[in-house]
């Protein structure tokens, strides 16, 4: 029944079937070549980018972190009462990004949205890589990172255990589960493509892919089990995804802090995460398409569909944002009111207005337009803007809200210091570096999924009209 949905709502651009990937098939070998060509050739530009990114990661991330471990947390700008700053905001940001992959891939897979086929892999990789970035921040922000194992429930002679009441403990388990789950989820559909790569490569790459493809031969029972496993994972990963960001939001919502202790934070954060995640998928796909010459696979129809999702989530996010504001205002707490005024007039006011601009004004005013949805440059700018806006949202909620509390004597202004900014920037470089490296080792487009789609799609003439028919795959 779910499979009916896309058909019911019709296909985009029915008028020009040549625009649509699934109706514009190429021989399998050609598709393999398109995918493998950028993987096997590493130009000087690529090396330059990798060297540059590695240097940034080494200096800005590893270096700054090591420096901070040596001298203490005080190198960051955090202070009483703003005990959490850029680190936690960046962690929430990366967790948000990580929602893209699962959402685009698993949910669209479950709903049999056919346009998902070429973009799932790139999105799923984003999940894993951004989770790696996000998962590092709980360590980075620890005052004593060398005792981090205290947080792991493990038997010890002192019979000390993790506090399962603490949202931070939930965080640890949620993020770990999500990271393992999403990594498996990205790996499973990759197996046939890795086997394809194995068959087309020689030397060390061949050995690597031989190991990674687990001896995949493509016989029928293998496909059967693969499909079953993917389906199980797709269903299983969705609640994990929702729970992860809900739990991250509980880091704040479970506290007593004004502005944080809101029951709407769970869905608010999930919507925000998907909003920023889908935007990030668009940004990344645009870059991948351009740099790896994958125009065949990634077509305007895909961006058009994703941009519509962005628009919907922009509206949903606006609703939750307004709701959160309204509840605080209606609550009538005198410090709460001050917090609202503080957002509009205080030191974070420029960020607050920028957030409204990037998250509400720009997407809502532009993405109605099909031409904008199909313009790579416009989309690139809008989606980057959304992620800036979503970062600002986290920044305002975490260090921003902490400025104000029940003891007016102890209000405090937080200004980030260079190690924090450097480490946050370093994780961005790390994310791009991982992606750049992955582009040479992992087929970013699941060729077999595209092929599968193309096989099931045919155009038939019924009377005067030509319609697309989709066969159920077995």
């Amino acid at each position: 029944m779910l499979a009916e949905l896309p058909r019911k709502f019709g296909w985009p651009h029915e008028d020009n079937p040549q625009e649509r990937l699934l109706l514009d098939p190429l021989p399998q070998e050609d598709m393999n070549r398109i995918m493998l060509r950028p993987m096997l050739k590493a130009g000087s530009g690529w090396w330059l980018v990798v060297a540059l990114l590695s240097a940034i990661v080494l200096v800005c991330f590893v270096g700054a972190w090591a420096y901070m471990i040596r001298w203490g947390m005080g190198l960051a700008g955090i202070r009483r009462p703003v005990f959490w700053g850029v680190f936690i905001a960046t962690m929430v940001f990366w967790i948000g990004i990580s929602h893209s992959g699962t959402f685009v891939s698993a949910i669209l897979r479950v709903f049999n949205a056919e346009y998902r086929r070429p973009i799932t892999r790139a999105a799923e990789l984003m999940t894993s890589f951004s989770l790696i970035c996000a998962g590092m921040f709980p360590f980075i922000h620890l005052g004593r990172v060398w005792t981090v194992y205290y947080m792991i429930p493990m038997p010890n002679q002192r019979q000390l255990w993790t506090n399962f009441q603490s949202p931070l403990a939930w965080d640890l388990f949620a993020i770990t589960t999500y990271l393992i789950g999403s990594t498996l989820y990205v790996y499973l559909p990759m197996i046939p493509d890795l086997a394809m790569a194995r068959d087309h490569t020689t030397g060390w790459r061949h050995t690597l892919y031989k190991w990674l493809s687990l001896g995949w031969r493509g016989v029928e029972y293998e496909w059967h089990y693969l499909h079953m496993a993917i389906k199980i994972f797709a269903f299983a990963i969705i609640p994990v995804m929702f729970s992860v960001h809900t739990i991250v939001s509980w880091d704040f919502a479970m506290s007593m802090h004004i502005g944080w202790h809101s029951s709407i934070f769970g869905p608010y954060f999930v919507v925000g995460a998907i909003f920023s995640g889908v935007s990030a998928v668009i940004t990344v796909l645009l870059v991948v398409r351009r740099t790896m010459h994958l125009e065949y696979f990634l077509r305007p129809e895909h961006f058009d569909a994703l941009a519509k999702l962005v628009l919907i989530f922009s509206l949903a996010w606006t609703y939750f944002f307004f709701n959160d504001y309204l509840v605080e205002w209606y609550g009538g707490d005198w410090v709460g009111h001050q917090l609202l005024l503080f957002q509009a007039r205080g030191p974070v006011a420029p960020l607050w207005y920028a957030m409204l601009l990037f998250n509400i004004a720009i997407p809502c005013l532009t993405l109605w337009n099909k031409r904008i949805r199909r313009s790579p440059i416009a989309l690139f700018l809008i989606t980057v803007g959304i992620n800036i806006g979503m970062y600002l949202e986290r920044y305002i909620i975490i260090p921003g809200f902490l400025h104000i509390n029940n003891m007016p004597f102890d209000w405090g202004n937080y200004n980030p210091e260079w190690p924090e900014v450097s480490i946050a920037f370093g994780t961005l470089a790390l994310f791009i570096l991982l992606y750049t490296l992955a582009s040479k080792f992992i087929p970013l487009i699941p060729v077999w999924e595209v092929l599968e789609g193309q096989l099931s799609h045919t155009r038939r003439r019924i009377g005067r009209t030509v319609v697309t028919s989709v066969a159920e795959l077995e």
Binding site: W334, Q338, I404, N406, M407, P408, F409, D410, W411, G412
Partner: protein, 741 residues
């Protein structure tokens, strides 16, 4: 140890102490090797793990509170108040707590040093014997009367020895000038009391504010630094402990809302220097309304024909308000007016203090067994007579003698170059003294320009005693003893003088025959044999033991000394204060005040006191200027802006703090900072307001420290004043009328 300790408890306790020691030993510095101290033969005072309390006297200000120092393993760990001591009863102030950082200050001088060129900061270490022979030669070679001593309010043991020494060599008595004492108005208050009570000897009283129903404090910041803040703090607690309704009503008359005024029920911002006039007006109104309780007292004469209207105009307190305050003062059975240190800084100090004291007399409170004015009782023996601080006029005379070349050897046991206004030209005069000896335990601003620095032991390493003045309900001689072995090769100054006396002449040998301070003290204490005390005083040995063990000598029971009757005060009217500087050019009156934590600057080398937040501004580690927000707006100034405060005698740069509780025509700057040489914690922080004061003298001969006019100039620079409050939040809470609690 009792026999009841079980084996288990013993193991547990020794484990506890062992762990504590290990913890403290391990965690000091990871880079340094851990020092293990194998106490095979432990020093007498160092039983491992055993804590010992030594009774002594606090040396952080001239009040003389009794302290107990917790010592373990030869280390002084904590200073606590001596619960037996009649002055402070187990309490101390913030400065008293920080005394350990005097003892363990990392910048202390570790031995006697000589400097070949003054100000070069090139110190050669010197053996004590060599230093003392050098000094003896210099003293012997000095012209008659050419040896002078300048000091703070030093403990009485040292003061007695120094006075005898100077007497023996024919010098003038020591000049003991203390900024805190001057700002407390000790001398002026003592003379005003004597004048009121018809006594010839000045007597510094302690006011029993604990029993007051209504307390009018004229510039007395007794909760911060005034005379004996711990004793007053205790009494304030008593006053506030009384049930609601009869709880004392407390009004503070002061141009600036000090921390004391901040807890008052009412603060009356009077124009600077008109506190005495206001007291006069109150007395005049009370007398006119027939509310005076001692109508026939000669004191009432002072309040005849008071120009209330004129005073209202001068002080900025409306006539109706004065009348209201006067009626309230007269309504309660036990009113009390405090003549505070704020009065002492103006040219009309003496009549102003007399006016306030006479206001007490008018209400029948100045004399009699019920009087809250407790006179300092006579010491048990004349040998314990305690000198009042010297006047500013004495200091000026010393400076004149120094500049004229009449002084060959100058002993300094204080920090005059920091303490005295630059306009007194002390530094220039000192440059003309051929030989200057400093006894500072740390290289301070004066020691930098000394030829010889003979570092004194800190007060926690010294022997001595202090005759507590004012003592309040009973006479008290507070004992001082070393709580730890001296850390370095330093020597206490009284020992230096005793040693010097042996080297100089027969006269000095005869005047000071004691080999060391302990011998001197034992002889002094022998005079207490047979006197009432809470311990046996039958023999000299018993007195000596009890004196050290209990922290001093005082009678077992309170014996309040109050005046029997009031004499007629000289019927002078209180003149208007004279302020230095042209009002057109210098529109603001500068109100310097001693810092609650740093005092007059002596506490600036102690990081705890530096870091402690000021009660009013919550600021630390810096100097600020308090300006009324309206004035600041007019001048276009905002918080955290650096401004120049310019007086006719100099200028300093300070950070603006807008203080809602200060008169618009007054700016206030705390003392304490602006050290150029006083150890790492004090150097190059803030500015020293004492430097820019006009060297004006009050009619009591003291420094008129509040009588300087200044102007403010912008520098265009910003510097955040370190403070713990958030002004936005505090202002917001005030507007919303909401406070936590």
């Amino acid at each position: 140890m009792s026999e009841r300790i079980s084996r288990r408890q013993f193991i547990a306790l020794s484990g506890l102490t062992g762990t504590a020691m290990a913890v403290s030993g391990c965690t000091i510095n990871l880079q340094e090797p851990t020092h293990l101290e194998p106490y095979v033969v432990p020093p007498e005072e160092a039983l491992p793990g055993q804590k010992v309390m030594y009774a002594s006297t606090c040396g952080q200000c001239p009040a003389g509170c009794g302290i107990l120092v917790r010592v373990s393993n030869g280390r002084a760990l904590k200073i606590e108040g001596n619960p037996l001591h009649p002055l402070n009863r187990g309490k101390t102030c913030a400065r008293g707590q920080a005394g350990l950082q005097v003892l363990y200050n990392p910048d202390r001088l570790r031995n006697a040093v000589r400097q070949d060129q003054r100000g070069a900061k090139n110190y050669r270490p010197l053996y004590w014997d060599a230093a003392l022979s050098l000094l003896a030669d210099r003293v012997k070679a000095a012209q008659p009367g050419g040896v002078a001593f300048y000091g703070n309010l030093i403990p009485d043991a040292l003061a007695t020895i120094v006075t005898s020494f100077l007497q023996a060599i024919g010098g003038q008595p020591p000049v003991l000038y203390d900024t805190l004492a001057a700002m407390d108005g000790r001398r002026t208050l003592a003379s005003a009391t004597a004048a009121l009570l018809g006594s010839s000897t000045p007597n510094l009283p302690l006011f029993d504010i604990g029993q007051a129903d209504i307390l009018y404090s004229f510039g007395a910041n007794f909760n911060e630094t005034w005379i004996s803040p711990v004793a007053y703090g205790r009494a304030y607690g008593q006053m506030r402990s009384r049930p609601l309704g009869t709880r004392g009503y407390f009004v503070q008359f002061e141009p600036r809302l000090s921390a004391t005024a901040a807890v008052a029920d009412k603060w009356v911002p009077v124009a600077p220097g008109t506190e005495g006039l206001v007291a006069l007006a109150l007395g005049g109104i009370i007398r006119e309304l027939g509310l005076a309780r001692a109508k026939d007292s000669p004191a009432a004469a002072l309040f005849r024909a008071v120009d209330v209207r004129g005073i209202a105009a001068a002080s900025g307190v409306a006539v109706e308000k004065l009348e209201e305050l006067a009626r309230a003062f007269a309504r309660f059975p036990r009113p009390l007016a405090l003549p505070g240190g704020g009065l002492a800084g103006h040219t009309n100090a003496a009549p102003a203090m007399t006016a306030v004291m006479t206001l007490n007399a008018l209400m029948g409170q100045a004399a009699g067994p019920e009087s809250p004015i407790l006179l300092t009782p006579a010491p048990p023996d004349p040998a314990f007579a305690s000198a009042l601080p010297s006047s500013f006029a004495d200091v000026k005379a010393l400076i004149d003698r120094m500049s004229s070349g009449a002084i060959d050897v100058l002993f300094v046991a204080g920090n005059p170059i920091y303490d005295l206004p630059v306009a007194t030209k002390f530094a220039e005069a000192m440059a003309r003294v051929p030989f200057v000896v400093s006894f500072s335990y740390i290289v301070d601003e004066t020691a930098v320009y000394a030829d010889l620095v003979l570092p004194n032991n800190t007060y926690l390493e010294s022997w001595g005693y202090q005759v507590v003045t004012p003592a309040g309900a009973r006479p008290c001689i507070s004992s001082q003893q070393p709580v730890v072995t001296p850390l370095y090769d330093t020597r206490q100054t009284s020992d230096v003088f005793l040693d010097l006396a042996q080297r100089v002449s027969d006269a000095t040998r005869k005047a000071l025959p004691w080999p060391n301070t302990v011998a001197f003290m034992q002889e002094q204490m022998a005079k207490l044999v047979g006197k009432d005390a809470s311990y046996s005083t039958k023999t000299a040995a018993a007195v000596w033991a009890g004196f050290r063990q209990y922290g001093g000598w005082w009678p077992q029971d309170e014996a309040r000394t109050q005046a029997r009757q009031v004499a007629a005060p000289a019927g002078v009217m209180v003149p208007r204060p004279k302020l230095e500087g042209d009002p057109a050019q210098y529109p603001f009156v500068l109100y310097p005040y001693p810092s609650t934590l740093l005092g007059d600057g002596r506490g600036a080398d102690q990081p705890w006191l530096q870091e402690g937040p000021d009660p009013i501004t919550t600021a630390s580690w810096g100097t600020w200027v308090e300006i009324n927000p309206e004035t600041a707006k007019e001048l276009g100034l905002a918080r955290d802006e650096v401004v120049k405060v310019i007086s006719p005698h100099g200028q300093i740069e300070v950070i603006v703090y807008t203080h809602p509780g200060i008169r618009p025509d007054v700016i206030a700057i705390p003392l304490g900072q602006g050290h150029s040489n006083y150890g790492r914690y004090a150097n190059r922080r803030g500015a020293n307001v004492l430097g820019i004061l006009a060297p004006a003298v009050t009619d009591a001969g003291d420094l008129a420290w509040a009588a300087t006019r200044v102007r403010i100039e912008k520098t265009g620079r910003q510097q955040t004043l370190p403070r713990i409050e958030n002004n936005v939040g505090v202002d917001f809470a005030n507007q919303a009328g909401k406070f936590p609690g």
